[in-house]
Amino acid sequence: MAEGAAAARAVISLEAVHKRYRSDRPAVLDGIDLQVAEGEYLAVMGESGVGKTTLLNLLAGLDRPDAGRVTVDGVDLSTLDDDATTLLRRRAVGFVFQAFHVLPYLSVRQNVDLPLRLQGVDAGARRERTEQMLAALGIGALADRLPRELSGGELQRTAIARALIHRPRIVLADEPTGNLDPRSAAQMLALLRAQIKAHAGAGILITHSRAAAQTADRILILDARGLTTAERD
């Protein structure tokens, strides 16, 4: 009963999720279970090719499991078609990528307020929230610059701002510090954690870095056997 209540409170829930890309290869994910509670910030570690990004794609509804159930904020993703999943993602998910992926032809401000524009937030509210977010991430002075005029750290701040501007229920970060120097990486992780705690329901960080994982509330290891909890240092 208590377990059921915990599941009900979970922002993200994976139950016996199975995913295989080719029939002649082993499954990438085989019977994965995961519950991420409201306000929780989770790190997932694992070797390359073990299925970390597949896990993120399943959580975001960008891919579908062969078996099992993925629930985000109580909504079973298997019941949604592509459009509905996309609209859920638009509203409830924020992404941060290793390669930044900001639109090169939009200014920093335009990149950051893009999710709000997609949601149809009116111009006044959009402007106010964007200014706040840019200030919170320390890139207010760069608002009108184009991405090609920014450093790697500044680009990743822009990407984080874009991931959080619409106050998503979950933030998914895939190796967000892979292209940054250690000092910038540390700053970025602290910023990410603070922003997730302040604005989002839950966060999942995919990383190879033990140090990065230490910034999360809980660390999971993904390998061929599935997800196991790792001890914090």
Partner: protein, 844 residues
């Protein structure tokens, strides 16, 4: 030493680049090669066909002239044969051969049959290649009514040895007997050979000749002889050099041939822009790998040379395919259409494709050159780019704002405007073509600046997809406008051609309405000089019940000047006071009557070729005298580009005593039908079946059908050019979508549906193509002004009123935009799929 090292290095880099291109972008490469191949193929095939036709025509002309070095030529009606006796007795003349040239009307056929009446013994010494074909049939040729036909004439008329050939003389049918067919090698054009005495008898020209061929004795200066002879020849009789006779057709058809060749080069020109835009886009797409090559030690010169060679290699492959295709196409065209792509005056029957290695090499080189030029600019810009920037940021490291080429572009536009004002060279609108090239180049160079200006004023809609599309285009003006170059070039040329043809057609229609005011038009077969209606026959026709009014005309060819082909003289009822009612007058002079001379109206062609203007006096060789007439006006004549002149019929009759007529306009009385009146007219004439009688409506319809057929090849060539341009746009959209897969993947991550991604790409494609269409439309209108008022006027010597087919242009523009949208939708579906989601993991 250093140069050789650069070449070796460039060769190695070229190998790497081409291999990787072949692996990654085979379709793009293949299409670029095909575009060049198509352009070279069309241009070379048209050139080869026309050359084959021209070669055969020139050969036929040479055979008719043979070894004569002076041709004495009179009006078609001829001159007294006493002149032959005088010339034959001249000690400076070695051989004199009398000739009666006849264009005989053949019942049931539109075109007349050329008949040469010759003295076979004398002609045999001058035109041996032609006369040798007579062989053992020589005695039979002296029989009255005997005629030998060339193989082509026999085939066209469907006649064999022993058959009867009917011709019309005056209004009487005459029967000739075909005594044999000349071997095909003897003469390649339609021709009949008769003994001169028989010809004079049959065609009622006893004692008349219209040509005498002379071979001068050794040591006599032919030019001096011709000059001296010209001074004592009767009025209207000219002493010509043989090449003047031979070259006339070549000269007369040159403008048509040059225009057609220019048109064929449009496809090649568009292909060059396609190579330019695809190479530019390809260089932009590969900037990181090119920068890596620079970082690994490839020098700037090596990289530039290798990239230019990449384009040249595409050009070489395309040009090779193109010339091979051209030879096959030209051969097929000569077999199928009997050759000749000009205005119909240059028809080669069964002409063989001549071996033209120089032309083949020339077209191959043009193909390679245009592709190399197309690749040179992007190669130069790639080699100059600092490698560090490209290596650092990939896509983010590119400065993709509009380059400042607008000033150069404006310079070319101004140059184009200036060139359009220059006069023709040897009756060819060479500066007109150069003006078009300069305007196109100028327009392409100003496209980026114009696009920036347009995108700057694009409204902010609040729709994230559309606004994002505009932002993308605004920031990527250079690659965007590069992809526009080929479509702007081909579409603007298509627009220009459509406006020109539409203007011409509408002017031609108005011209037909003006010249065909009656209910029925009738005429003897055109071009002949044997059929006519005497005064008695005209009276009989006029008396046919149902004819309310009838106006007869007499048309004949007269030579004004030995440098030009004969002009057409039209003697008709016309009054200076109402000339504007019956002729499409473009210029008038009020002083005609003050000169106390009879007024005449000259065509624009005559005015251009001979330099006459309204108000001046023109001297015409009529009735054996040189008579002066006042030029009362200049009129537009679309039927005769060699020149024509309208003379009041009474004045003509007074000058010549010739009361015959060859054409008539008939107005019907109420209650009478055209068919019954036509049948009654035929019944009144002995050779009524040979007379062409049509309602004016039918004449107009047929004329417009012929007009449309003549321009069909124009439309076909233009459509091909636009198709090449569209391929360029499809390419640009497709490759852009491929290059931006990661971007679309990210957009899918943050909540754009697949259809939003499709919409984004479609809206970009539609906006970009719309800009191209609007720009191409404006440029096309500009180019059409050059075509209508410069190229057409200088090439064909007639004016056209500008008329713009607004609806058809809009239709074509919408088709292009729709095609671009279709390509974008397809590309968007591919780009927004699951691969795109995975592509965010790739480093861009």
């Amino acid at each position: 030493m250093r140069g050789r090292r650069t070449l070796r290095g460039a060769w190695r880099v070229w190998g790497v680049l081409l291999r990787s291109q072949l692996r990654e972008q085979p379709t793009r490469l293949i299409l670029s090669v095909l575009a060049i191949a198509l352009g070279v193929c069309l241009a070379a095939a048209i050139f080869l066909v026309n050359q084959a036709a021209l070669a055969q025509f020139t050969d036929a002309g040479r055979r008719l002239v043979g070894s004569a070095n002076v041709i004495v030529r009179g009006p078609r009606a001829g001159f007294a044969e006493a002149l032959f006796g005088a010339l034959a007795r001249d000690p400076r003349v070695a051989i004199a051969s009398p000739v009666l040239e006849i264009e005989a009307a053949v019942p049931g056929r539109r075109e007349p049959l050329a008949i040469l009446g010759i003295d076979p013994f004398r002609a045999g010494r001058l035109q041996s290649a032609l006369v040798d074909g007579i062989g053992p049939r020589l005695p039979a040729l002296f029989r009255t009514n005997a005629i030998l036909l060339s193989a082509v004439a026999a085939a066209r008329l469907g006649l064999h040895a022993g058959d009867a050939l009917h011709v019309v003389v005056g209004d009487q049918p005459e029967r000739l007997r075909v005594i044999g067919i000349l071997p095909a090698r003897a003469y390649s054009q339609p021709l009949g050979l008769m003994d001169i005495a028989s010809a004079q008898w049959i065609f009622a020209r006893i004692g008349r000749l219209n040509r005498i061929d002379l071979r001068l004795a050794d040591g006599v200066d032919a030019a001096a002889f011709r000059a001296e002879l010209s001074r004592r020849l009767p009025v209207g009789v000219l002493a010509l050099a043989p090449h003047t006779q031979i070259d006339r057709t070549a000269a007369a058809t040159r403008a048509y041939r040059v225009n057609l060749n220019m048109l064929a080069l449009v496809a090649l020109w568009t292909g060059a822009f396609l190579v330019f835009s695809t190479q530019s886009l390809s260089v932009l797409r590969r900037r990181a790998s090119l920068a890596l090559l620079r970082a690994l030690g490839v020098t700037r010169a090596e990289l530039q040379l290798a990239l230019a060679a990449e384009g040249a290699a595409l050009g070489a492959a395309g040009a090779l395919l193109g010339v091979a295709g051209a030879v096959a196409l030209a051969d097929a065209m000569l077999r199928t259409f009997a050759g000749g792509l000009g205005d119909g005056r240059l028809q080669a029957v069964g002409a063989a494709l001549p071996a033209q290695p120089a032309a083949i090499v020339g077209f191959f080189s043009i193909g390679v050159l245009v592709a190399a030029i197309g690749a040179w600019l992007p190669a130069r810009s790639a080699a100059r780019r600092p490698p560090a920037a490209a290596l650092k940021g990939g896509n983010l490291g590119v400065e993709s704002t509009a380059p400042s080429t607008w000033l150069l572009g404006a310079g070319f536009l101004a140059l184009g405007g200036a060139l359009a004002r220059l006069p023709p060279i040897a009756h060819l609108a060479l500066f007109g073509y150069l003006s078009i090239a300069a305007l196109l180049l100028g327009a392409v160079l100003t496209v980026p600046a114009a696009t920036v200006a347009l995108l700057r004023v694009a409204p902010h809609t609040g729709r994230p997809v559309f606004d994002t599309a505009i932002a993308q285009l605004r920031d990527n003006v250079r690659p965007s406008t590069l992809s526009l170059a080929s479509i702007i070039v081909s579409y603007s040329l298509m627009v220009a051609m459509m406006i020109m043809v539409h203007s011409f057609r509408s002017s031609f229609e108005n011209w037909l309405v003006k010249l065909l005011p009656a209910d029925i038009e009738m005429r003897v077969p055109p071009g002949n000089d044997t059929a006519f209606w005497s005064a008695g026959e005209q009276a009989r026709i006029s008396a046919v019940p149902g004819i309310a009014k009838i106006r007869f005309r007499r048309t004949l060819r007269i030579a004004l000047d030995r440098r030009h082909p004969p002009i057409t003289l039209i003697a008709r009822d016309i009054d200076a006071a109402d000339a504007r009612q019956v002729l499409p007058i473009v210029a008038e002079a009020a002083l005609a009557r003050a000169a106390r001379l009879q007024p005449v109206w000259i065509s624009e062609g005559l005015a251009d070729l001979y330099g006459y203007r309204a108000g001046q006096t023109i001297r015409l060789p009529l009735g054996g005298r040189l008579l002066g007439y006042a030029i009362a006006g200049v009129w537009r004549d679309y039927a005769r580009s060699d020149g024509s002149i309208v003379l009041p019929r009474p004045a003509y009759e007074a000058a010549t005593g010739d009361h015959d007529a060859t054409q008539a306009s008939l107005w019907l009385s109420p209650g009478f039908g055209a068919a019954s009146v036509a049948a009654a007219v035929r019944a009144r004439l002995a050779a009524g079946d040979a007379v062409q009688i049509m309602t004016s409506t039918a004449v107009r319809r047929r004329s417009l059908r012929v007009f449309d057929r003549a321009f069909a090849i124009t439309y076909a060539l233009e459509a091909i050019a636009v198709a090449i341009g569209l391929v360029g746009v499809a390419f640009a959209i497709g490759s852009t979508a491929l290059a931006r897969r990661a971007e679309f993947g990210m957009l899918r991550h943050i909540g754009l549906r697949r259809r939003d991604v499709v919409a984004l790409l479609t809206e970009e494609g539609v906006v970009l193509t719309s800009i191209g269409v609007v720009y191409g439309l404006l440029l096309g209108v500009l180019l059409s002004l050059v075509l209508v008022f410069v190229v057409n006027r200088q090439s064909f010597h007639w004016s056209i009123d500008l008329a713009i087919p607004v609806l058809r242009l809009l239709e074509l523009g919408l088709i292009l935009v729709a095609a671009a949208a279709g390509t974008a939708i397809l590309s968007g579906h591919a780009a927004g799929g699951e691969d795109a989601v995975r592509a965010v993991r790739e480093d861009w």
